[in-house]
């Protein structure tokens, strides 16, 4: 009995190891760069940290599938290196001999990437899932593109300038036409015998001395 139990117990990790194969079809490689990220505050990578990783991944699977059957034991880790890199697989909680397919795991990790990173005080760059590209930060897009605003300002200034010039030109021309009309009227008034007296300021004519009889009223003896 004891022997069988021992055999069974030794088989479980053996089975688990068999499921977790580096470069396996449904396996992912994880790489952590703790010293790069945290420098002096770097923590030691040990079994407990490993446990946290498996728990976080189980949480991610729970969140993604909505099934609360995932447990720490569903995540199997192998091939750990001093780099702090290792491979892991996720087993199906209903049937521990089958694995959750790769894209399922990928989607789950993508969904909770932020939470996984924060658990380890790392970022997308320092906690790498080889094969899952990090989500790049989308550039901030304001509601109205900036260029339209600048365009609107410049367009407004130019339109105002054009209108100002056209209107002032119009006014100038009206004034000129008015002064021309006034001058023409004056010229018509002082036309005598077809000769226009431009020098006159609209008077009654030139005093022609030859026809002035004032001095001759009293004839001289």
């Amino acid at each position: 009995m004891l022997a069988r139990v021992l055999l069974a117990l030794s088989l479980v990790p053996a089975l688990a190891l068999a499921l977790c194969q580096p470069d396996g079809q449904d396996a992912y490689k994880v790489r952590l760069s703790i010293k790069t990220a945290l420098g002096a505050n770097a923590y030691e990578w040990n079994e407990s940290e490993q446990f946290l990783f498996r728990a976080t991944l189980a949480f991610a699977m729970r969140k993604y599938t909505g099934q609360e059957t995932f447990n720490v034991s569903s995540v199997i880790v192998c091939n750990e290196t001093p780099r702090v890199s290792f491979w892991f697989v996720v087993t199906n909680p209903n049937d521990t001999t089958t694995l959750i397919p790769k894209n399922g795991v990928e989607e789950a990790i993508r969904l909770s990437r932020n939470r996984i990173n924060s658990a380890f005080l790392l970022s997308d760059k320092t906690l790498q899932f080889v094969g899952i590209p990090p989500t790049l930060a989308p550039p901030s897009q304001p509601s109205l593109p900036v260029w339209l605003i600048v365009f609107g300002v410049v367009m407004g200034i130019v339109t105002a300038g054009i209108l100002a010039l056209i209107i002032s030109g119009f006014i100038q021309r009206k004034k000129k036409e008015k002064t021309i009309e006034d001058e023409e009227e004056k010229q018509e008034r002082i036309m005598e015998n077809g000769i226009s007296f431009e020098t006159l300021e609209g008077k009654d004519g030139v005093n022609n001395g030859a026809y002035s009889h004032d001095e001759d009223r009293l004839t001289q003896l």
Binding site: P82, R83, P139, V146, V158, G169
Partner: protein, 642 residues
Amino acid sequence: MVEESRPSWENPMQFVLACVSYAVGLGNVWRFPYLCQMHGGGGFLIPYLIMLVVEGLPLFYLELAIGQHMRQGSIGAWSAINPYMGGVGIASVVVSIFLVVYYNVINAWAFWYLFHSFQGTLPWAECPLSSNFTTYVPECEKSSSTDYFWYRETLNISSSIEDHGGIQMGQALCLVLSWMVVYLCVLRGTESTGKVVYFTATFPYLVMIIYLIRGVTLHGALNGLKYMFTPKLSDLAEPKAWIDAATQILFSLGLGCGSLIAFASYNHHNNNFEKQAIVVSLINSATSIFASVVTFSIYGFKATFNYESCLDRTLQSFWIFLKRVMSAGSLQFNIDSYFSIQNTVQTEWTVFNTFFLKMQLLLINTFDLAEDSIKRDNLDDWISHLNASFPDKFATISSQIEVCDLESELDTAVEGTGLAFIVYSEAIKNMGLSQLWSVLYFSMLLMLGIGSMLGNVAAIITPLRDFAFLTRHFQKETLIGMMCLFCCLVGLSFTTRSGNYWFTIFNDYAATFSLLFIVLIEIITVCYVYGLKKFEKDIEVMIGHRPHWYWKIVWSVISPVLIIGLFIFYIADYIMGGTPTYQAWDSNLGKTVTKEHPPFAQAVIGLLLVTSMMCVPLAALVTFIKKKKEQARERKISTTAS
């Protein structure tokens, strides 16, 4: 009825600045540096300056003299010179119309880039992300962020000229704005133009000086300058260098369009245009040279930046450093030797330093070593150990060496819109404070472009306003407004998805061959039809002395011969060139491919070449027929009367 006297410049300075503003344009910035690079660097200055003295200056002088003497636009002036030669003026106007329609699109692009410079990061500095936010858009990754911004976000270019696509709203809006700005500057005639040119003529120089100071202090600028100014005199033996110099002078000074005649027609009769002609031509050439210094320092910076990024990306700097160490005498690959020659190879050391981290990362990732296991002082031990223990794995990473070559980066010679909007914006995005430099640069392009536009628009408006019929029925503002509206509407066809291909057709064919023809007819008309002696006397009346015999020889013999030579070369080149081709953007490959023009495009090319030139013989024919009719009528009247 009071007659309106001909408007004139407020002072001679306005005239000079208007000519400078017109002549100094985008060609000085994006064509001359390219020609310099293609034809032996500094050595190109020799044919360029010779052509300036022998061809450019005398023709410039000639056009100013005609304009100032006749006091009319090109149509009226040439009709006055000889009634049969009015067609030359009409041809100038037709070429100017083609020119303004496509040239203003460049201003639209400049506005577009200028407005997009007011952002935190310049939009052409980074590739946009694809929809799932994990990668960059593939078209952008294959080419570059600046290429992508130009071809996709600005032009939204189609893959061939047959594929029209719709009008791009952003481009159309900017084009409308450009035409409104031009209208604003010319609607009052010389009164408004004269004031605007103070700004459009001087602002570009201010920006160029700022860029010069910044450019020569950029890291790597000296590489570009050295590359440009090392004269390769062997290139001068090629006739292409001389032909390009001659055509560059001709087009750079804006001869044959009628703009100079138009500007000069507003001068006082005794204005000393001889001195002004020399001054403006010299300023134009000096600006070209100045602009190439700036361009080449920017080139050098960009090429060096790309070269060093390449080194960064690959392991090559490590091997270079290694080679240096080995050649410095130490046969053993030893970390101490790095430190010992650290002070003598500063540049390589800095590159190596940043690079060491990459090497470290690559090694620990490939071999799953602990993060802090590889340090500078045990790098060499690790490398020999890994190379020995895992030779295959090591081989995979040592094959990551790209070949980085500074020369090939500098060799990428670009001209035209590619230089202005792609190469320069790429360099700007890597400078500190890139938004400021971007705003300065595109404002400068705008000033240059609008300055030239003012001249070309004047070349159309001035002869039109000389027609009493039009002046009587339309106010000045209305006439100019209608012309601007017409050109704007036609220009909208350049804002479609295939617009850039049509733009290139117009750029290459609308104002090149026809202008040569017009200039040739001009010079022959003045010297042989009108008479050189009569022309001399006219000049004497205006400026008080006869032109120097040098001018006379050039006008009557040297220039015509030169231009006929250019003419023949162009025809030969066109015939031997086969089907005209163009560079089409392939969005799948992320680069341009050569395609042949379809028949309708070739028909347009033919039309462009022929339309303006046909005006000359056609107008002569019309005048001939009119004269014959008049003579016949007079004879009838005299016979019936007697």
